[in-house]
């Protein structure tokens, strides 16, 4: 498998003395499902946003699909971004628009300014949107306004919007943090399915250790802006997890391979 994404020595400084990331290095292979875990405020979101430069890294290199993301100009960056789908904790849909309109927003990066601004999409694009929505189980909701959907449905629209971009990489910023267990499972199943059957690489920020262990091929543990663990989900030990969260033994609630860790 070839390497799709390489993050080399990336640091990010906010203001004078808040260091969100320091010398983060890792690489992601094509078709991999990677989870980033770590305590709140460890820099997980910043790390994810550095990859598509929603946040500019202070130093370091990011290489995505043979493009040096940190060196690109505005126009080239937009082109790279069309190949990176992003999913958010709060879904980030335009509430007043319908499900299909929100889905089609994923095509904007490919369209001319005028066609995009006026919302002129081709028949093919609409059909593709409908296809994706059907796979995600939203075919009944196509013309519903997105604020009439449940949280889980909104997140599936978010996934549809990312998928219609025809991306190589999906960045998911805590996709299930505001969802109930049932919807969470549906979303994670979809993400896993996208990774396995479509070969799209997925990098996901998670708070739920058990979910991360269950779904991912690889886990990256982040604490105070540093990578403290990088390995397969199978090889992780409870000791590693305690180290990631910087907690004392016996103070976390999670399951590791069916046995309760205490």
């Amino acid at each position: 498998m070839t390497t799709l994404l390489e993050v080399k020595n990336v640091s990010k400084q906010f203001g004078k003395d808040t260091k969100a990331l320091s010398n983060v290095t890792f690489s992601v292979k094509e078709g991999e499902f990677v989870s980033v875990i770590g305590p709140s405020g460890a820099g997980k979101s910043t790390l994810l946003r550095c990859i598509n430069r929603m946040v500019d890294a202070s130093s370091g290199e990011i290489i995505f699909d043979d493009a040096y993301v940190h060196q690109l100009n505005k126009k080239e960056l937009k082109k790279v971004r069309t190949k990176i789908g992003m999913i958010f904790q709060h879904y980030n849909l335009v509430n007043r628009l319908s499900v299909i309109e929100n889905t089609l927003h994923g095509r904007l990066g490919y369209k001319s300014t005028l066609a995009g601004a006026l919302g002129l999409y081709s028949e093919d694009e609409k059909l593709q949107a409908a296809r994706i929505l059907q796979i995600l189980g939203l075919e009944e909701q196509i013309y519903k306004r997105s604020d009439q959907l449940s949280g889980g449905q909104k997140q599936r629209v978010g996934i549809a919007r990312a998928l219609i971009q025809d991306p190589k990489l999906l960045l998911c910023d805590e996709p299930i943090a505001s969802l109930d267990p049932n919807s969470s499972k549906i979303i994670m199943d979809h993400l896993r399915n996208i990774c396995t059957s479509m070969g799209i690489t997925v990098v996901v920020n998670l708070h739920q250790v058990d979910v991360a262990l269950k779904y991912s091929d690889r886990i990256i543990g982040v604490n105070s802006g540093k990578v403290v663990f990088d390995g397969t989900a199978k090889s992780i030990t409870s000791n590693d997890i305690h180290q990631i969260y910087g907690s004392d033994e016996g103070k976390l609630i999670f399951d590791l391979g069916g046995s309760h860790v205490s």
Binding site: M54, R81, N92, R96, L108, K111, A162, Q165
Partner: protein
């Protein structure tokens, strides 16, 4: 922080000793700076009002007579309205002219304010540009519309041209503030999501920003239309911009015809009420949609 004791149980029995303790606590209402300031201001205003009425120079006007005459004039205006110097259809046409003036200036204002509003909203523009536009617009807004019309009258001559330019000018400044504030209330996430997918500025504006804030924009624009109607009436008289305001000026300042003024007032009142009803309906519909 004070250490909290164990949780007390609620009982309905009254305890005299405890009640007295609580009463004492209630009576110790703290005196704050603001309450003192408010009381001093109130007393000062009462004193000034009384002093002003005592020190007025009433000349030979008898208060009762004056009051009766005023009421008589008002009665003539509103109970015996008539049209003498022009016909009903002429009045109707002039009301339409005034409405047209209000409509034109609102539309001009709205179109220009949309662009400036986008540039003045901090979340979709840059901070320095936003500050510059908002500052300029605040300055323009601080000067009343009538003054702007008179200022433009220097170049355009007193009349409809000056009125249109002046009213548009003030409408722009008002709507830029209203629009940019509704844009700024927009959820940051939606913009972020579109940026992350590679969409450009115009696409984000038309696909996320405007659809999200269209209800606010419509209701602000309509409010400005109502304001512009009132201003357009005044402009007819003050700047010779034509319309029903000019007829009113003629009826009062030229013919001294109270009854005709009454009739014109009724005309304006009816139009204003119609606008109000229409605006409420639109807002209701938008609320259902949002």
């Amino acid at each position: 922080m004070q250490a909290e004791g164990p949780i007390k149980t609620f009982s309905l029995q009254t305890d005299k000793f405890l009640d007295n303790q609580l009463r004492e606590r209630l009576s110790k209402k703290p005196f704050s700076k603001s309450s003192i300031a408010i009381r001093t201001c109130g007393l000062l205003l009462i004193f000034l009002t009384i002093y002003a009425f005592i020190s007025f120079d009433y000349k030979d006007v008898n208060f009762i007579d004056a009051l009766l005459l005023t009421l008589d004039n008002l009665g003539k205006m509103f109970f015996e309205p008539h049209l003498k110097h022009f016909s009903f259809s002429h009045a109707l046409f002039q009301v339409l002219v005034t409405l047209g003036l209000a409509f034109l200036t609102t539309i001009f204002g709205a179109i220009i304010a949309l662009l400036l509003g986008l540039l003045a909203a901090e979340n979709i523009s840059s901070k320095p540009l936003s500050v510059v536009i908002k500052g300029t617009v605040a300055l323009i807004r601080a000067v009343p519309t009538v003054l702007w019309v008179l200022i433009f009258a220097v170049a355009a001559g007193l009349g409809s041209v000056a009125a249109v330019i002046g009213m548009t000018f003030h409408s722009i400044s008002y709507l830029v503030k209203a629009y940019s504030e509704s844009f700024e209330e927009l959820d940051k996430g939606a913009i972020e999501a579109l940026q992350a997918s590679g969409a450009n500025w115009w696409q984000i504006v038309f696909q996320a920003v405007i659809p999200s804030s269209i209800t606010y924009m419509v209701s602000w624009t309509f409010l400005r239309f109502e304001i512009n109607f009132a201003v357009a009436v005044a402009m007819g008289a003050a700047a010779g911009a034509g319309g029903i305001g000019f007829d009113m000026f003629m009826a009062s300042g030229f013919y001294f015809d109270l009854r005709e003024i009454g009739a014109i007032t009724y005309f304006i009142l009816i139009v204003a009420i119609c606008l109000e009803i229409f605006a409420t309906r639109i807002k209701k519909k938008l609320k259902v949609l949002s």
